[in-house]
């Protein structure tokens, strides 16, 4: 990895029932993620993705680029706007520095052209298994 390099983009389209599976896997059963009627009653367009699911996609793009789970040492994100099921998420990132086996990647996640995770920064330890 060299400064200026783009990491391999990661694109994924969560299916209609993804939020239910993620709720079970993560333990976050907030009804705004799993109940269409409830979500609409509180003014949302419908069930929204868990922010931490979307963050997990950003993390996955880093560990894919870094060569495995050990490579990801730090990840910080800001959530901006809501993610929706059945719409493609695209994670992108750019290496801003790479020194002494540690790379800093500026990254984010967009859906329908809107950046729903921005100002994200990952620290990767290179030369991994």
């Amino acid at each position: 990895m060299r400064p200026g390099d783009e990491i391999e983009p990661l694109a994924v389209t969560p299916d209609k029932y993804l939020t239910v599976r993620y709720a079970g896997a993560s333990g976050d059963f907030n009804p705004i993620h799993i109940d269409e009627e409830f979500a609409q009653q509180v003014g949302l367009p419908g069930k929204i993705l868990h922010g931490l699911y979307t963050m997990a996609q950003v993390a996955r793009a880093q560990t894919d680029a870094g060569g495995g789970p050990r490579s990801l040492k730090r990840l910080s994100v800001q959530f901006r706007g809501m993610g929706l099921p059945e719409h493609e998420l695209v994670v992108t990132g750019r290496v801003v520095s790479a020194d002494d086996g540690v790379a800093i990647v500026e990254c984010g996640c967009a859906q329908n052209g809107k950046r729903i995770i921005r100002n994200a920064e990952a620290e990767l330890r290179l030369s991994d298994d």
């Binding site: 997990a56 560990t63 990840l75 910080s76």
Partner: protein, 146 residues
């Protein structure tokens, strides 16, 4: 809205989490992981791990339950109906594998008010059964003003 900054620094009793192999698999599948270290015990062992390796973001699973007492603390006073998750940071130490026992301690790192909105930052520190810090996290929530 008014925020109670007197509660900054408050620490809550530690919460324990036993990491199960099938829970790692369930989480890995839900987030779309394809790395066999998270799905195939033999592959994980061949790579030198004792058991299935948790994806880094599995920290959500073992650390999040420790936040409930903070979120429901009347002294902190969060109005859930107005709360949004503003930001998140994780810093990882050694990888977590199935069979690990994780203890997480949470504290109130910061509370402030800007433009009528409340900003709440909670810090969590998760250690494994060997006392190694496997994940430090900062959970930032915004409670919109009325």
């Amino acid at each position: 809205m008014s925020v109670n900054t007197a509660v900054i620094g408050k620490t809550y009793p530690p919460a324990h989490y036993a990491v199960g192999r099938e829970k790692i698999r369930e989480y890995a599948k839900a987030v779309g992981e394809t790395n066999p270290l998270h799905l195939d015990v033999e592959a994980a062992r061949a790579a030198g791990y004792n058991d299935l390796v948790a994806p880094p973001m599995f920290a959500v699973v073992y650390a999040f339950p420790s936040l409930w007492p903070v979120l429901f603390d009347d002294e902190v006073g969060i109005d859930f109906s107005r709360m949004v998750h503003g930001g998140q940071e994780f810093e990882w130490g050694p990888l977590v594998v199935a069979g690990d026992e994780i203890t997480t301690t949470v504290s109130v790192a910061d509370i402030s008010e800007r433009a009528g909105n409340g900003f709440y930052v909670f810090a969590s520190e998760s250690v494994n059964q060997r006392g190694e810090t496997v994940c430090s996290a900062r959970w930032s929530n915004i409670v919109r003003g009325a």
